[in-house]
Subunit: 474 residues, 2 copies
Amino acid sequence: MNAPAQASHLLPTIALRPVPQAFLDALQQRFGAQCSTALAVREQHGRDEGSLQAPPPSAVIFAESTQDVQDAVRLAAQHDVPVIPYAAGSSLEGHLLAVQGGISIDVNRMNQVLSINAEDLTVTVQPGITRKQLNDAVKDTGLFFPIDPGADASMGGMAATRASGTNAVRYGTMRENVLALEVVTASGEAIRTGTRAKKSSAGYDLTRLIVGSEGTLGVITEVTVRLYPLPEAVSAAVCSFPSIAAAVHTVIQTIQMGVPIARCELIDAHTVRMVNQHSKLGLREEPMLLMEFHGSPASVQEQAETVQELAKEQGGNAFEWASTPEERTRLWAARHNAYFAAVQSRPGCRAISTDTCVPISRLADCLLDSIAEADASGLPYFLVGHVGDGNFHFGYLIDPDLPEERTAAEQLNHQLVARALALGGTCTGEHGVGIHKMGFLLDEAGQGTVDMMRAIKQALDPKNILNPGKIFAL
Amino acid sequence: MNAPAQASHLLPTIALRPVPQAFLDALQQRFGAQCSTALAVREQHGRDEGSLQAPPPSAVIFAESTQDVQDAVRLAAQHDVPVIPYAAGSSLEGHLLAVQGGISIDVNRMNQVLSINAEDLTVTVQPGITRKQLNDAVKDTGLFFPIDPGADASMGGMAATRASGTNAVRYGTMRENVLALEVVTASGEAIRTGTRAKKSSAGYDLTRLIVGSEGTLGVITEVTVRLYPLPEAVSAAVCSFPSIAAAVHTVIQTIQMGVPIARCELIDAHTVRMVNQHSKLGLREEPMLLMEFHGSPASVQEQAETVQELAKEQGGNAFEWASTPEERTRLWAARHNAYFAAVQSRPGCRAISTDTCVPISRLADCLLDSIAEADASGLPYFLVGHVGDGNFHFGYLIDPDLPEERTAAEQLNHQLVARALALGGTCTGEHGVGIHKMGFLLDEAGQGTVDMMRAIKQALDPKNILNPGKIFAL
């Protein structure tokens, strides 16, 4: 989901490591104008779209090549200084904060498409390219890259947080779609994981280990992902329901029947109202599903008829169709702008986002109880969800000047996570752990499992210089 | 693919580690009748379906619970003795050989279905259950587990080797289908990775790290996998082609068009002849594709029509249909028995199997050059392939009493792997590395990447007791 930069909450414990002047001098010598220590640049690189705050990094390197990244990491390793990879800056859980000090490695200039292999449905890119830039670059091939987390995130960042979004219910997440990586390790070596083959049993799956490791095991310098043929037919539809429960039961049945729906998003009535005001739309202000179907014309029709029948049984209205590309774009823009619409509905507020994901059969239980709690709290909120995957986001809209509202929001988040874990789910479907969810990860995975992650981190980054202090305490 | 036990080739360097009598006494005391040191039992557990050979393990533990596995691993850790997990014994690359000595932990008695969550399309099983047993257990739910490597392999073993097989082109491999694991670590602790949620960004993807780690990072004691709704309609078809090139070009176009074909297998003319003799079939003795289509009746028809048209352009014959379940079963049994058919075609021979996988656009190049080389060698061979994934297997049929034939077969394998790697592929699509492909892995991944794997191994198994000597030298 999208979210503007809103740093409002200083972390309680920050232990900055020394950044020697000799190191900064060496950086300046190696990188010249590609190195900045200007405060404004550092501040921009020291935050993400979440609400946590820390002092900015000591310098920013604008890397233009894998070699640049290697040299920056090697110098940092010599001086025991943390490095934090940076691209779009759209992460939400404090991933980019220099909580132990250090430097930022900005890879935005590494934004080239290195090779399009249309016949194999793969493309290899540099990490700074955004998903929209990538789709522009491949649009003449008849292929597309489906993963869409809302923000125009970078491919490196999406790999690093194991991002997903609205199309994941059909096409999977970055976990399923990254085939191979080039990664700069803690010693500054560039290694390759995976190949362009669709499957492999060649040793440990380092590709999947790096995907989702949030910059703590290496800096991603190349990403090879799968592309998909543009569907012959695409139809989007909106359907309103008398209750959230009715909408959710429609989704559960759709998934259980194996309908290959491409997008299946829930928006609650509050949020529809906010979206209508913000995007000047006239959507019915009731719980709503936004859906999209991909396939051959016959298959799209078949899918839509099946879901329409299921919706009708739950009291859903007739589908309203958005069949032209322009109508679809408007509809999905409205969905992606739900965050902004919500934030504007309470001027000066900030949003605390949740990200639980549960097995589909538990979705109604998890959602309805959490809505009751949120309503009882009196905090305004919005609610959107990639419900086809069992993943949804509350955004509690707090007044940053009222600490009790933050406390109330975090309390709701805790209760929601506890509920999701009890139902067999996860604390984070797609945003990652960062700083904000370190406690939740421990609750979810258990001490032994987090210890295994930490042992891997210590083995691959013995000086703890790669985005330290994220995912688990170290 | 299926393969009978054929141990014929002693490994050149075996360095057995001591197995103290005190350790064997402690095992006997803890496990009683669940511990065997009988030679026949040990020999059965000291080999797999490949052609390599090593001395058998010193004892076999028949584990009946996670606690049993934990206790066996703890005792082994105390005495620095290797442990090798064992279930169906159907691996092909020497995975189960006690190349450094040690004991075998047989998990075949751990073969229960622990929970079926039909509404969520997931099931949790013990590692010793086989894929056929699993499908029997879930058949009343209207769901099935699609991964089919030919052999009736165990779920634990399939996870450990990242297995796939004939359905992977549509449903993915164990990489995509394992959601969560319980794993006994080198210290004897049982940890859990993953949840039943369909997606997650909660820290390192330990599930994917363990999947494919061949028993070197932990002993799998529970596996949660995805199930799929049984397709409403299934049709299988056979189509013969004037040449391998024509068959392969049909496959390439099918994949590039995004047809969601469920199975797409190539068999060459030699192998069709062997299959006809073995399975008493009357298939045309020409290069052949065996295909299966899953979906709604309309979708199956649409897919089949598309592929039929592509085949026709390449000179393929009209499809011969196998529409009843019995006909389909007979057809796929014939495919799965290709190995046995081939081996019986040269009495007393043994098969050396290859397992390369390349990007689909390179499939014709890779296959045709390798066929030319195999033909020039004069060695008899069979050729089958999961060509929809770019994965195929030569089986060179050698006389085990003629070392020059083994040398020739290994030489062909080397040339094939070198070709596949140059084309952007992998040395192993689904069989794993084991002992046999350690050199190939180094060629494929490079020293830095293999060093990263080794660093993870050393961090998680500092005494090197978990199936040591596999994947990489250690």
